[in-house]
Symmetry: C3
Subunit: 141 residues, 3 copies
């Protein structure tokens, strides 16, 4: 006689935002899987309109703020972020986007990646960001 193995189930929660692309493409703004919170690639849109047109710094700041707004729905803030990715369309914008990242995450120090790509689903967007966060962490002593 064998006893069934007790499998620990992990809960999944999703949140949506006001981005029209979530319906068109079929995705959530963020998905929490147990302690991990995965935020979708996020553009500097507010009510579907691009903010800071032509200004990579404002666009990066807005995209990060949108990502943090998704985390806030799970009770988290920037300090919970463990990995970021910055997709940027022009080499000349790296300094501005990097400055925005440092202002938001400089004291957090996530793992980060920055690559220059060809574009996004909206051609006026200069930067898209992606973050992953973790709940219930503590700094190692």
């Amino acid at each position: 006689m064998t006893e069934p193995v007790a499998v620990e189930r992990v809960s999944v929660e999703r949140v949506q935002s006001d981005s029209p692309w979530e319906e068109t493409i079929g995705f959530a703004r963020a998905v929490a899987v147990g302690d991990r919170v995965l935020v979708s690639g996020t553009m500097p849109l507010v009510d579907g309109a691009v903010q800071g047109e032509g200004d990579p710094y404002v666009q990066a700041k807005t995209a990060f703020e949108n990502s943090l707004a998704a985390l806030e729905r799970f009770g988290l803030d920037a300090s919970s972020v463990v990995r970021t990715r910055m997709y940027v369309t022009h080499a000349r914008d790296v300094e501005d986007v990097g400055r925005a990242h440092r202002e938001v995450f400089g004291s957090v120090r996530p793992a980060a990646t920055l690559v220059i790509v060809s574009g996004f689903v909206d051609s006026r967007v200069l930067v898209e960001v992606e973050v992953e966060a973790f709940r219930n962490t503590e700094e190692s002593s």
Copy 2:
């Protein structure tokens, strides 16, 4: 007297597919680490041949199907997917690729990212996708 700390070991499993690139570059089609299943960047190849040449919708559908075939080896289907990434070579293909994603994942709603890039290891490929899944989840009530 101190007792040894019991470290819980997490099992790692890998599966291969028929993609010739797995040998050339040295990677697995998918790696399961505990409850997480990481699928490699996946192109619309069948037996090494590009499907749907010139057709981004067919290519996206085929790439997702290839990814799901890898998940199926672990007993999982689309509903287990928590994050997707779509790498697309042309802005004009975004609508077709997005539609393919919605058809496959619209009821699942993973976190998603879509970026336009310059290309892949095979120049006839218009779209490459990447998915991550999770075993033993339950929807939050």
Copy 3:
């Protein structure tokens, strides 16, 4: 009377390297969150200088070595890597970068992605890599 739920806290540790970009952009070279170790997008820099200028094979090898040096700070080596990403600027460099990956990870077989992008924060860099590792794993029998 209800008892408080015991939440298991997961420790976070960060390491820095000699890359000047970590200060400029505000990130860590690698972040360990529990058993996961997330390494930042890593270029072929040594003391801030690009190695192997014009040589994608040397650049890929150096970028992987830099990533492994970060893992080594957590007591890990290449065998712990479960996912890699290669961002490459020219289609003609795919073979060289793929060969470097196979030499480093061919016996490990992580999940992998290779995409061609437009560039990085340093315009002399031909390849940037990203790895994720896992502690306390065991091969499945």
